[in-house]
Each structure stands twice: as structure tokens, then as C-alpha cells.
């Protein structure tokens, strides 16, 4: 087996430049993470910028730096393009990670060097100027050869993997956190030194993962080339004879379309978690209506019920000329029925249906689980965090009912429930004779936007028990909650 590897070290930056050509020639850094506060990679001309910096640090290091967010969707599309193009040169291609592709280089008519060169040419054609390719006996060696080559193509001769890897640094191994430092302390700096060590003592010191390190260092990587999964799109379009504005007619048609699409899914033993309705109006206007399913399914009844809710939730359906139902099978397997706990399975199914209905009715950020987070802040508006509920797994429904009763112990005494008013509403200063308790001084966020509040519990003239505060900065009074 001969495996080729195409490495694009600046993949995220090249994808960004493909989307925004106007940034070409300027130093660029890509940020990622949920908060977009960590630099993931930077272009070679962004001098001094390294991964892990914050955008502020990076801009201070390199004036004129453009910081762009990582676009996973665009990267996915670019990887697909690259693999499509590579398939014209090799029968088996595989996208391992963003910017890392493997392909089968065995028995290619033009030879291995030509295959690697062709891969480079393809990458350059698609706009990935920083690319390197290599061919070797196994995937790890090919990857190391491509990474070491920096630019251009290289070929490791058959049977020469161990010799080629011997001089390369240990850092090329997929090391667990801390292992690199430990190898450094022991003076093990090359793959050849790792390969020369006996497996047993190595595993005794580093754990079983060290056997894998040694195997990779000896050129014994057995990572297979996985064939690309064909992504079939199931789509059906129904054009009406004339413009239709009655919802019943649209639903009747929709039912047939969905039955057809779900039959195709079920026939291929597939399920979907998203159905897209395209509503074609007069004048060529097309409206997309995505309907998300809480759990993957191929049930026509479920899909139709959710699509109907989504259509009914729209204020004005309008006149339609055609309707398209489009879905793609999802990667997740269909949910399995629990064999020995029918009640839990049915509860989960009912919850999945409920969540799907809610998501068809409301925006996904409007169906949430709200957790109190008193450790985060003492300000009422920051004492809770809302998380969107995506699937039944986000709610703890797996616990046993009796265990839940046991966990919670005796019933909590009734307590005045505070209804939060967010943002706080400004009120007139309360009467000095109003019954009240306080003040409770809260000072927070002095490092960004200082907050100084004196909180009181008081009864207003209408008899309502309120939580109010006086802002020490503007000396105004605000009501933030009502005890109800």
C-alpha cells in the first residue's frame, strides 16, 4: 500500500482569502473557539503572532493585522472541493482533518512523484498556495514527509519509512499532553530514539499509548484509507398548476412529497435530522424553511407533523407556485429502542417529539434550560445561564424516578418567587416611610464597567413586594424584581 498525503498548513487562512480576496497581501490571523478569543493560526507575514494569543495581543504584536473568525462551513465546502478534485487523480481519497487529505498512490500509471505533483497542482488551482505532498508506505510517514517538506513533493521509497523517520523530531507524534516534556527530560528528541526503545519499559513509564508512539516511529502505522461517504440528497419538487394560497392544499401536497422522501431514506436504512422546505412563490422568489428534528428519524408522520407546524407558525403563507422537500441523511445512527425499559424509551420519544414541535414553532434560542449560576455573579441578571435545548439528551430524563425523589429529600418550603425584570425599570425614589430592608451593597465588574448598587426589599404604595436598587453612579432608583 502506498499512501499519498496532501498537507495545507495555511488552510484556514487560504479559505478566508478565497472568501475575501480583498484581504490578500495583508497579515491575517484566524480566531476560533466559542468566544473567538484565541488565535488559531496566522499567515507567514503576521510576524510575531503565534497560536494561543488573544486578538488584542496579536494586534499589539503586529500592527495592521486582520483578525478573522474561522468559517467551519466554508472549510467544509473547500475540503469537499479538494477531495472532488483529488478523486480525478486517485481512486481512493480521504479527508482526515481540515487541510489534511490522504489518497491512494499505489499503482498509479504516471508514478508516485507525478501523483504528488498533481495533488499540489490541484491545490494551487483551488487557491491553496501553501501546500506540500508526499507519498510513503503508511499514512503517518507520508504526513511527516509532507510536513517536513514544507513546499513541493517528496517520495519516501518503499520500505524506507523507519530510516526516513529516524531523524525527525518527536513532536511529530500525536503526543498526549505532557508527554513531549517528559521525552525532552529523558533526552529523547528524535523518532529514531523512540523506535529503538523496547515496548515494555516504554509502556511502563508512559502508559499503553507509548506502544502506539513506538509503532508510529518505526513506520508501522496501520491507519487505513477510509472511502469517502457519498452524501445523497433526497429531494422532490411539486409544481402546482397555478398559484396556491390555501394551506390545506399545500399540506396535502406536502404529505405526498414527504412520504416519497422518507421512503427513499428508509429504503437506504438512513435517517435525517433536518428537512428543508423550499417555497417557490410567484416571480421566482424562493423561501427556505428549515425544519429541525430533535432526533433522527425516517418517519413520514413525524416529519409531516413538524413541517405542518412550521408552515402553520408562519403568519402569511402567501401564494405558492411550487414546493420542494429536501433532506440529506445525517451521520448519526437512528436511535435504538431500549430493550428493558420501555417507559424511559417512550418518554424520550415523547420528549423528542415535543422538542421538535417547539423548535418548529419557536426560534432555537427560545427553548432553553436555565441554570442558576450564583458563582458567576451576584447581580440578579447574571445569576442564571440559558442554554438552548437541542435534543432530549440535554435534559436529565434518564434518572430513575424514585432516585429523583430520594435525591431531593423533603419538600422545600414555599418561598416568595422572584420575577426578574431585565433590564431593570427606572422608578421614582421610594418614600422614606415605605417598609423596607436593606441596603445590600453590590459592587462588581470594576475592571470593565463598574457596578455599584444598593439593593432594598421594599413594599411600594400599591402593596407589591419589590426588589429595588439605587445605582450609586447615577443615584437613580430601579426595580429589578417582584416577589410574587
Amino acid at each position: 500500500m502506498r499512501i499519498g498525503c496532501l498537507v495545507l498548513p495555511q488552510f484556514s487562512i487560504d479559505v478566508c482569502l478565497r472568501a475575501k480576496p480583498s484581504l490578500r497581501g495583508r497579515p491575517i490571523a484566524i480566531v476560533e473557539g466559542a468566544t473567538r478569543r484565541t488565535i488559531a493560526c496566522a499567515s507567514p507575514d503576521a510576524s510575531g503572532v503565534i497560536a494561543g494569543m488573544t486578538p488584542k495581543q496579536a494586534r499589539a504584536t503586529c500592527p495592521g493585522l486582520v483578525v478573522a473568525a474561522r468559517e467551519e462551513t466554508l472549510e467544509l465546502a473547500a475540503t469537499g472541493e479538494l477531495l472532488d478534485a483529488l478523486e480525478t487523480r486517485s481512486p481512493l481519497v480521504c479527508g482526515v482533518a481540515p487541510g489534511l487529505c490522504h489518497f491512494d498512490a499505489a499503482r498509479l500509471p504516471a508514478g508516485e512523484s507525478a501523483a504528488a505533483g498533481a495533488a499540489l497542482a490541484i491545490a494551487e488551482t483551488l487557491g491553496f498556495v501553501h501546500a506540500s505532498a508526499a507519498v510513503a508506505d503508511d499514512a503517518f510517514t507520508a504526513r511527516c514527509a509532507a510536513m517536513v517538506a514544507k513546499r513541493g513533493a517528496s517520495v519516501v521509497p518503499p520500505g524506507g519509512s523507519a530510516a526516513f523517520l529516524a531523524s525527525l523530531p518527536v513532536g511529530l507524534l500525536p503526543l498526549a499532553p505532557g508527554d513531549g516534556d517528559r521525552f525532552e527530560l529523558l533526552g529523547l528528541r528524535t523518532l529514531g530514539q523512540i523506535a529503538a526503545l523496547p515496548d515494555g519499559p516504554l509502556a511502563a513509564r508512559f502508559g499503553e499509548r507509548a506502544r502506539e508512539y513506538a509503532r508510529l516511529a518505526r513506520g508501522g502505522c496501520d491507519e487505513p484509507l477510509l472511502p469517502r461517504r457519498a452524501r445523497t440528497l433526497h429531494e422532490i419538487r411539486f409544481a402546482f398548476d397555478g398559484a396556491v394560497d390555501r394551506l390545506e392544499t399545500v399540506l396535502f401536497t406536502l404529505r405526498g412529497c414527504i412520504a416519497d422522501v422518507t421512503q427513499r431514506l428508509a429504503g437506504a436504512a438512513q435517517v435525517c435530522d433536518l428537512v428543508e422546505l423550499l417555497l417557490e412563490r410567484e416571480g421566482g422568489v424562493i423561501e427556505s424553511l428549515p425544519v429541525a428534528l430533535a432526533e433522527p428519524t425516517a418517519s413520514a408522520q413525524t416529519v409531516f407533523a413538524l413541517c405542518r407546524i412550521a408552515l402553520e407558525a408562519r403568519d402569511r403563507p402567501g401564494a405558492l407556485e411550487a414546493i420542494v422537500v429536501r433532506t440529506a441523511p445525517c451521520d448519526r445512527p437512528p436511535p435504538q429502542l431500549a430493550l428493558f425499559d420501555g417507559s424511559r424509551a417512550s418518554r424520550r420519544a415523547a420528549l423528542a417529539a415535543t422538542l421538535a414541535r417547539l423548535r418548529a414553532t419557536l426560534d432555537r434560542h427560545d427553548v432553553v434550560a436555565v441554570q442558576p449560576t450564583p458563582a458567576r455573579s451576584r447581580l440578579p441578571e447574571r445569576m442564571q445561564t440559558a442554554t438552548a435545548i437541542e435534543s432530549p439528551g440535554d435534559l436529565q430524563i434518564g434518572q430513575d424516578r424514585h432516585a429523583a425523589v430520594h435525591v431531593h429529600g423533603p419538600p422545600a418550603p414555599w418561598a416568595p418567587a422572584l420575577r426578574l425584570i431585565d433590564p431593570p425599570a427606572r422608578i421614582d425614589p421610594p418614600s422614606a416611610r415605605a417598609p423596607c430592608a436593606g441596603p445590600f451593597r453590590l459592587s462588581e465588574s470594576w475592571w470593565e464597567r463598574p457596578i455599584e448598587r444598593d439593593y432594598y426589599q421594599l413594599v411600594d404604595p400599591a402593596g407589591s413586594l419589590l426588589l429595588v436598587f439605587r445605582d450609586a453612579r447615577d443615584q437613580c432608583w430601579y426595580v429589578q424584581g417582584v416577589f410574587d
Binding site: I309, A313, R347, A350, L351, A353, T354, L355, R357, L358, A360, T361, L362, D366, V367, V368, A369, V370, Q371, P372, P374, R378, M383, Q384, L395, I397, R401, H402, A404, V405, H408, P411, A412, P413, W414, A415, P416, A417, L418, R419, L420, I421, D422, P435, C436, A437, G438, F440, R441, L442, Q457, V459, A462, S464, L465, L466, G481, V482, F483, D484
Partner: protein, 285 residues
Amino acid sequence: MPPSAALSDLRASIGRRFGETANESLGAVLRVSGLERLLGPGGIPRGKLTEVFGARSSGKTALAFAALAACARAGELAAYVDCAASFFAPAAARAGVDVRRLIVARPASAAAARRCVDALVRDGACAAVVLDCGESFGGELRTQQCARLVAQAEKSGTALLVVSAGNLPAAASFATLRVRACGLQPLWQDGSDGGAQLLGATATFEVAKARMAVRRHVAEFALVLPDVVDTWPLCEGSAEAESRGLWRGESLDTSSEGERISRSSGASPAQALCRSLAREGPRAS
């Protein structure tokens, strides 16, 4: 024998024969701890619409949280449709609500709220659904819409609890049980330096409409603020507050106010309130 006594006897005999949990698994009602003083041996009926109405700061949300806490104790899922965007998770958790098993929906309009409740009661995934209408929902729930919701709730056995300002005629008409929250009476305790602190409140509820309880029955409930109230009323528990240095005003304010609070009481506010109520006894008519 009055119906409530007969029902009590029946429950007792079922409990003796099949165990105490058998009553709860009957599933006909959502048994809310303490609410039997108002509703007799019953509770909030499942599969029916119950309306809790009252003015602002009358205690209706406390009753809704108590119902959700009952769901949590039974290990059931519940949902809260928050039309007023006023749901406060720390208060709910303090009342015993399992917020990990609570779906909170925040519809943007009354129509969306209606569809949302319809989706929640249809499959029976939630044992109780609370529709918190806020104060600006009036007139948005029509008779036929309410009838549809009640029919769905009946089919799925979901307890549908509407918390309103009393301005929903359709809900009033279809409700099996209507409870009026008559108001909160704050309980203050004088401190040694003349200041006051809030111990809690008493809430009065009246049965406005019922098929299984005595109409016009009134009961008073103690709503206890936790012990940490003398420093900051929104923390979940004293242990946590103490661990965060929030105990008795130490980190809140070093001014004389904080010292006043720390000197003010020997017993905890909750203990003082319970003692006070024990002396007076619950008032029911």
C-alpha cells in the same frame, strides 16, 4: 361523609394495601406539598386546566413553583412558558424546582405562546406545563383555542397551569380549578438598631372555582426566605453563601448597615418566621 373525607379514606386504604407511593402513581393529581390545606386531599388535577390568578406580587408564582417542585420530586419533566420573560432560575431552584428537568420556552408573542403550549401538552412528555401569561396577555386566548389546549392536555394527562392576572375569560371558563392569589403580607423583623429585615411573607389563596375542593375556601401559607436573607436574598443556600464570603454582610458592605444586619437577630429568619406562624397557627376558613 363529605367527599373529601371519603377520598382521604380511599387514599389511606390504597396506601395500606399497595404502599404509599401507589397514591402518587394514580396520576390523577399533582400533589403539591402543603396545598392540601387549601384543596383538601386532592391536588392540582392532571389532564385539566388550573388557573392561578392574582394581582402583581400576590403569590401566584410561588404556587406555580410549588407545583413544578412537586413534578421534580416525582422525577417528572415540566415546562414553563415564560411570556413575561421573568423566569428567575435561582428562585425556582430555591423553591425546589429541578431546573435540569425544566424546559423554559420564551415565546415572542401571544400566538407563539399558544402554539408553544399546544406543542408541550400534545405528547405528554411534561407532567406539568405552566403558562405564565404576565400582565399583557389578556384577550389573546380565545375560547376555541383554549378548548383545544384543554382537549390536548386531557388526552396526554398533562397538568396545565395558567398563571395570569385574571384577565383570561376563556381560561376561567375552561378551568377545572381556579385559585385566587389574594396577596403577600411581608413579615418584617425589627433589628436591634431599629432597622428591619424581611423574614418572608404570608400568602393567602382562595379557591375561586373547583370541582373537587370547597369553593371559597381560604388558606394562608408561609413563604420563607432562606436564612441568608439577612445578607443577600438571592443566593441559593447559606453554605454556598458562606463559602463565598457572603455570610452576614461581611463582604457586601462593611458599613454600619452591614453591621446592623449582623447584630440584628439571634435566630435565623426562617426559624423566627416558623416560630411566629406556629404561635399564630395557619388561618383557614
